[in-house]
């Protein structure tokens, strides 16, 4: 029996000095934290630095927005809704309203906004007393100190681009897509021209039909188009579709 317990002594006594190692570690840490400060940040009194494109609540620059609804379409939590708002001239326009109770702060709206009206902001202290207070209307979404860095750009490089020897980053993938018309399906209803937020679609006469009435076909101004695909969505005959035009 005695031999069994004696085995518990370490063969090499110097090895039992491992006890000193954690103490040396702790002493080093103490010296470090006494000279500098500990890692703890006293949150309400001091805040951590946030980068310029920090994904806080979404912000909106009312005058830049064209009301295309791209943010509504892209929002993964479906928290954005287009509502009627009055702009500076007194006209009624469509502008996004964000329900911050559902917002995931992913910043997709800012990424996909074709006119960079939607931005991210570094605001993250958003507690309110009721759920209704969490609905941020178009005017409330305004953020005073918006900087260019908050307009999050969707910068991508396609594998096909690299294969073709063009590794430059595209500013926006969607900026290079344009709606394309299937002529045989179009009935010339002008709906696409009405819904276009930037008036890029013009209805042009292309001859007359059998009954002598003019045949109207949309002509898309590629410089004005922001590829919001509202025309594609609203086309009653599916005559328009988005095509990548490189």
């Amino acid at each position: 029996m005695a031999i069994k317990y004696l085995d518990k002594y370490p063969k090499n006594l110097a090895k039992s000095l491992w006890v000193l190692k954690p103490q040396w570690t702790v002493l080093k840490l103490l010296a470090k934290t006494v000279r500098h400060r500990p890692v703890t940040v006293l949150y309400p009194y001091e805040k951590e630095w946030v980068p310029e494109n920090y994904r806080g609540r979404p912000g909106l620059r009312f005058d830049k927005c064209v009301g295309c609804g791209m943010c509504v379409r892209m929002c993964p939590t479906a928290c954005i809704k287009l509502v009627d708002a009055t702009d500076d001239d007194g006209k009624t326009v469509r502008r996004p309203q964000v329900n911050l109770g559902r917002c995931a702060m992913c910043g997709y709206c800012a990424e996909y906004c074709p006119v960079d009206a939607m931005t991210v902001t570094p605001e993250y202290e958003l507690a309110e007393f009721t759920r209704f207070d969490l609905l941020y209307g178009p005017r409330r979404l305004n953020y005073e100190k918006t900087t260019p860095g908050m307009e999050v750009k969707l910068e991508v490089t396609l594998p096909s681009d690299i294969a073709n020897g063009n590794p430059e980053r595209r500013v926006s993938l969607f900026a290079l897509d344009r709606p394309e018309l299937t002529d045989s399906k179009c009935i010339g209803c002008k709906k696409c021209a009405k819904v276009c937020p930037v008036n890029a679609i013009e209805m042009v006469e292309k001859g007359v039909n059998d009954k002598g009435k003019p045949i109207l076909r949309p002509v898309i101004d590629n410089d004005k188009c922001i590829c919001c695909s509202n025309c594609v969505d609203d086309c009653p005959k599916d005559a328009l579709k988005i095509k990548e035009v490189l």
């Binding site: 103490q23 702790v26 002493l27 840490l29 934290t33 703890t40």
Partner: protein, 389 residues
Amino acid sequence: MAYSSILNWIDFYQNPMSNAYYPFGDIYNLPFDISYKLWELIGGTIAWLINLIFPGNPVSIWLMDDAACTLFALIIFMLIIFIVVFVCTLISLWMERKFLGRMMDRRGTMVGMKGFLQCVADGLKTFMKENTIPGKVDKMTYMWTVSLVIGVSVLVACMVPLSDRWFVVNYDTGLLIIMAFFALAPFFILVSGWAQNNKYSLIGGMRAAELMISYEVPMLIMIGTTALLAGSFNIGDIIDAQYETVWYIVPQIIGCITFFFAATAESERLPFDIAEAEAELVEGWQTEYAGMKWGLIMLADYFRGYVACAMFAIMYLGGWMLPGIGDGPIPEIVFLLKTWFVFFLMILVRAALARVRPDQILNIGWKVFMPLSVINLAIVLLLKVGGVF
């Protein structure tokens, strides 16, 4: 005396040692001096006021009488001794929280005065809680044991002298008596764990007894070794002997390290807090104590930690003497600084090491501490016989 000035009653510059009832023989005692002068002020004012209303009454004269002065001065003396020890303990509590925080890369306590007021706030909080007693405990032992644990800890903390002029009683067997009272608490913990009728408390109490039998014997051997080296159990004599030769940490380096760990175990601090073991045993033997009782138990723990550090400073670090300088103007501060330095080492060990298992503490106690203390004793005997000391 129909009308008398207040200065007729207050004899502020009277030396308390000239009082016929001076309780400390021919040794000067600083806290008694302070309390005596305080009583001269308070009692003299009271006596003067009473004398203004009832001129020539016997109560005023009795109040400033030698015996009454000594009596009331002793009451104030007790308060002063306790408050000083209490504040020192609170400072070590603050040290533990702040240093432990920094060692864990946290900030530690932050409330007022660099976190010192957190101790006061915690104390007030526990005092304001409801005094609950579980239904199935044995009430008498439950209350008595916790009172005794706290009482013995406070008593032993007050008995530690801070210098040769700051003491309660100058025992010839001071070291032995302090260690005897120090070792009493585990018995009460065992009984308390039994009285609470709770399995965690019972295991905690059993572990306290187990812990005690593992470190107590080597610890007493080391105390005996120090007394042998100094030739006295009197704390003042031990410190004088260290001043005349060297700090006993030099000849007794093995014993000093062993005593440090045994004292850590004695005050039930990590890594030897197996009786409390809040990670595995809820709160160990303190499980059923709530509110003020628990707060006082925690305070008593720190009293015991303070005493362990003070004993280390007395036995190995030369107490209130500095080599080459001697007493100095404020030996109390020197002593407290040494005590807090030892406490800092205890915090370091606490932060660095994990808790030992109950079987490991028995192994360490009997198979490591015990041989080491005997080796230490042998070295001291050789030195003593060889005439070095």
